[in-house]
């Protein structure tokens, strides 16, 4: 039977010999024989996957028993001999195959071929980094730790943060070729059963060959395939994921990537930065507000420039008229071409800058940014007012803390610019209507994307546009349907000062 392009031998007919024959085709498979007091033991393993140090010290050395009278009659005796923790005896060939390819040893006693002992001494730490400074989601204050590529380390970090028996980690293997370990993390008793079931079902339904990253899982299980908006929060910071888990969302981790995704999420989750919580609520709200303003500015300014200069000259205030006309005086292109030219230049700069080697990057950044800009204006290819507008809007598209959202904003900008060049201000507002209608339809794990704005949920507003003080955000948001909605209690402050006249 065919399964994802990989022909699998029917379980019942495959024998151990066939397994070994297939494995022997690779150079890194080895089989050694050892003796334990006259009993021959055959050990099969992949030398690239096992931890040789552990094998030497804990396994092979213990096979040289001092006691000459010890006879190994069955695998159980061998198991008692060895001081290793993860051992299992089995004859299920699919499990043996799985575990062999994950770096476990297969031990068989020479006269027994029906049962096998599997010992886990894999070296999963090779080639992986030990720490992650989360440079992509930088915050000035607060912990900067991020997840790494090894899932066990990640679970370690997670359990250290959420030190509670309610934290449940379920594992599921996804990927017919990669057999990646994917973890579903949630708080038992807090997260809604419905959401957990949805996640479990969707993940179980996946049919894919290799899971590169959780973003792959995101794209396969998401509710709506054709939207540019990210439907699940994706981050590599520990504090962010723990915040979402504790609020009642479900996080999905995958082996081999530091990024985890969590859902159900709303549009406002993508504008929250951990710094908002490490600063006072007044400052946090202010910066969050600036971020949202930055997003609007980024999406609409270039298109407003195109619309006003191409169709609606009457709207320009009289003092701005002079500078605008002067700046466009020698530009040969209509505003739409000017804007597209500049926007594409900035996109090129960004793409190239992402791939430049660090040493060259800085110099070229200065060259690209400043010199090209200046030269473009001097050569009268663009106007200097437009240069400022496009540069500022490119900058403000990066104010969103989550990278995937800033990509969406950049793409949306182009759509609005094109619409503005067709129908002017009417095009912009029509685009806005389309955008709204699209956002209203989106759902993330069944929860509407624009909650708490629509459907209006008053109690979730405290943490969306502004970050209210911790007194007000002690309840979990209702749209996540948590089973226990109180995070912590709010104590009334003891009045130390009486009235005006006391002090």
């Amino acid at each position: 039977m065919e399964l994802g392009g990989h022909i699998m031998i029917d379980q019942n007919t495959m024998t151990f010999e066939e397994l070994i024959t297939l494995a022997k085709k690779s150079r890194d498979f080895s089989q050694i024989e050892n003796r334990v007091n006259d009993t021959k033991v055959l050990i099969s393993y992949f030398s690239t996957l096992v931890n040789h140090e552990l094998m030497q010290t804990s396994f092979l050395s213990n096979l040289n028993v001092k006691d000459e009278n010890l006879k190994i009659k069955s695998l159980k005796d061998l198991q008692e001999l060895l001081p290793l923790s993860e051992m299992s005896i089995t004859n299920d060939l699919s499990e043996i195959e799985n575990k062999l390819y994950k770096g476990q040893l297969i031990v068989q006693i020479e006269n027994e071929t029906s049962e096998f002992l599997l010992i886990n001494i894999n070296s999963c730490q090779t080639g992986l980094r030990q720490f992650n400074d989360s440079e992509n989601e930088f915050s000035v204050v607060g912990p900067k730790m991020g997840f790494v590529e090894d899932i066990d380390t990640n679970m370690n970090l997670l359990r250290r943060k959420i030190n509670s028996p309610k934290l449940v980690i379920e594992e599921i293997l996804i990927g017919s070729l990669s057999k990646t370990r994917v973890m579903i993390v949630y708080m038992d008793g807090i997260t809604s059963e419905q959401h957990i079931n949805t996640v479990r079902e969707r993940l179980a339904d996946i049919d894919i060959d290799i899971v590169w990253d959780t973003s792959l899982l995101d794209q396969v299980i998401r509710d709506n395939q054709n939207t540019p908006f990210p439907l699940y929060l994706s981050t590599e910071r520990i504090d962010r994921i723990t915040y979402t888990i504790v609020s009642g969302q479900i996080a999905i981790f995958s082996d081999g990537t530091p990024y985890a995704i969590s859902g159900p999420s709303t549009l406002f989750d993508f504008f929250i930065s951990p710094e908002d919580y490490y600063l006072n609520w007044v400052l946090g709200s202010f910066f969050r507000f600036i971020r949202i303003m930055g997003v609007f500015f980024s999406i609409f300014t270039s298109s407003i420039y195109v619309a006003v200069l191409t169709f609606h000259y009457e709207v320009i205030p009289k003092d701005l008229l002079g500078p605008l006309i002067e700046s466009r005086a020698n530009v040969p292109f209509p505003p739409i071409l000017e804007v597209i030219f500049l926007e594409l230049t900035i996109e090129l700069l960004r793409e190239a800058g992402a791939r430049l080697p660090t040493k060259v990057g800085q110099t070229l950044g200065i060259v690209g940014g400043i010199v090209i800009g200046q030269a473009a204006v001097a050569a009268a290819l663009t106007s200097n007012i437009l240069l400022i507008i496009v540069a500022l809007s490119a900058l403000s598209s990066f104010t969103t803390p989550i990278f995937v959202m800033s990509n969406t904003i950049r793409v949306l900008r182009f759509v609005f610019i094109v619409l503005a060049s067709f129908l002017g201000g009417l095009g912009i507002i029509l685009g806005f209507v389309f955008l709204l209608a699209h956002l209203f339809r989106l759902k993330s794990f069944g929860t509407p994307y624009l909650v708490p704005l629509y459907p209006f949920r008053r109690n979730a507003l405290a943490d969306s546009f502004i970050r209210s003080s911790f007194k007000f955000i002690n309840k979990r948001p209702e749209y996540l349907r948590p089973r226990d909605s109180l995070k912590y209690g709010v104590k009334k402050k003891k009045k130390t000062k009486g009235d005006l006249n006391d002090e």
């Binding site: 609606h312 709207v315 129908l423 009417l426 209203f440």
Partner: protein, 370 residues
């Protein structure tokens, strides 16, 4: 034959307020002053109040007509008149809704053609708006309620904008008060009914409201707020523009926005016209949605998918819009819908109510006889 809607598609009760209010505020508020002052002149604000109050009675009638077992007008028609005649009535109601939507459609295109882009062709704008309506309505009723929130928020901002005309207001233009006959005031009331048309679409979206019976108070509140809004705009218009100028200004509200001076925008009326699209979307999309739903409910076959009938209605509107070419015909269209609306509201709604009452009695008598 009641209409069953799944639980997850229902909207909360208080949303009735947004739905009804945004259905009423639409294109009428931009040009109503000229119509209502034809007879009552500066006393027309009184006509607005009277019209608003009479709508409350009609809302009450609607809520009496619809109930749990007959929760939309197709079911009521079925119950009162039987299948065949009931379907004919439903189709007439469908045509009326389609006509309402079409009037808003053509009038908005007219406004864009006059104020913003004089050379744009009707069919081009109609096509673009048609695509937009298709995308919005095909998302279902929940998206329409989302847009109806905008239909409430933006007119509230309009009240703020009234600060600018108030700088030039002259209260003497409202005087002398009450120097018109009752007949003139009533004629103006008839002209102002067009302002309040829109609440009757509740006939079709009643099943979509959670706890629909209890939503009556929200509908009444919505009507009160609409009346207050119209009243304020009318009074400010009368204080700002004198009666003779008003007869020459077709779009008086837009004329009032010409005086707005902001430091960074010269001509606020462009921004105003563009933002006003968000307010007319509910008045445009809800009736079309109601039409597709009537068609779906009448025909039991699954071939007539709502999306196809939606596309059909939109194409009909686009083609019809191109036939109404000039300003005079748009005016005539407006007057026609105003008349039809008046008769629908004041004759048809009580008629349906009485028929249902009568039929209820009949059923009771028949069951007693058995």
């Amino acid at each position: 034959m009641k209409s069953i809607v799944k639980e997850q598609f229902l909207v909360s009760t208080f949303f009735t307020f947004y739905l009804v209010h945004s259905s009423q505020i639409g294109i009428g508020i931009l040009s109503f002053q000229r119509e209502i002052t034809k007879d009552a002149q500066q006393d027309a604000w009184l006509s607005v109040i009277i019209a608003g109050l009479s709508i409350h009675i009609l809302i009450w009638l609607i809520y009496q007509t619809l109930d749990d077992r007959h929760n939309d007008i197709v079911a009521v028609h079925d119950f009162c008149f039987g299948q065949l005649i009931g379907n004919i009535f439903s189709i007439l109601v469908l045509l009326y809704f389609l006509l309402s939507a079409f009037t808003v459609f053509r009038t908005y295109i007219q406004i864009i053609q006059v104020w913003v882009f004089p050379t744009i062709k009707t069919w081009q704008l109609a096509l673009v708006l048609g695509v937009m309506i298709f995308y919005i309505v095909s998302g279902g009723f929940r998206i329409l309620t989302g847009f109806s929130i905008w239909g409430v928020i933006i007119p509230a901002f309009l009240l703020l904008l009234l600060y600018f005309p108030l700088q030039y207001m002259n209260p003497r233009l409202l005087m002398p008060v009450f120097n018109h006959t009752v007949k003139e005031i009533l004629l103006s009331t008839k002209a102002s009914i067009l302002l309040f048309v829109g609440f009757e679409w509740i006939f079709m979206y009643y099943p979509f409201i959670k706890g629909a019976k209890k939503s009556q108070k929200w509908a009444h509140l919505a009507n009160v707020i609409s009346t207050v809004l119209y009243l304020i705009v009318a009074v400010v218009s009368f204080m700002y523009i004198n009666q003779d100028t008003l007869q020459h200004a077709t779009w008086a509200t837009l004329f009032m926005t010409k005086i707005i001076e902001l430091p960074f925008i010269e001509r606020f009326e462009y921004i105003f016209i563009f933002i006003w699209i968000l307010v007319i979307i509910p008045t445009l999309c809800i009736p079309i949605w109601a039409c597709t739903r009537i068609l779906k409910r009448i025909s039991n076959s699954n071939h007539l998918k709502p999306k196809i009938s939606l596309a059909f209605f939109i194409i009909v509107m686009i083609v019809a819009a191109t036939f109404i070419e000039n300003f005079v015909e748009v005016d005539k269209l407006g007057k026609f819908i105003s008349n039809v609306g008046f008769y629908f509201l004041y004759f048809y709604i009580p008629f349906v109510f009485l028929m249902k009452l009568f039929r209820n009695q009949l059923t009771k008598m028949l069951s007693k006889a058995q």
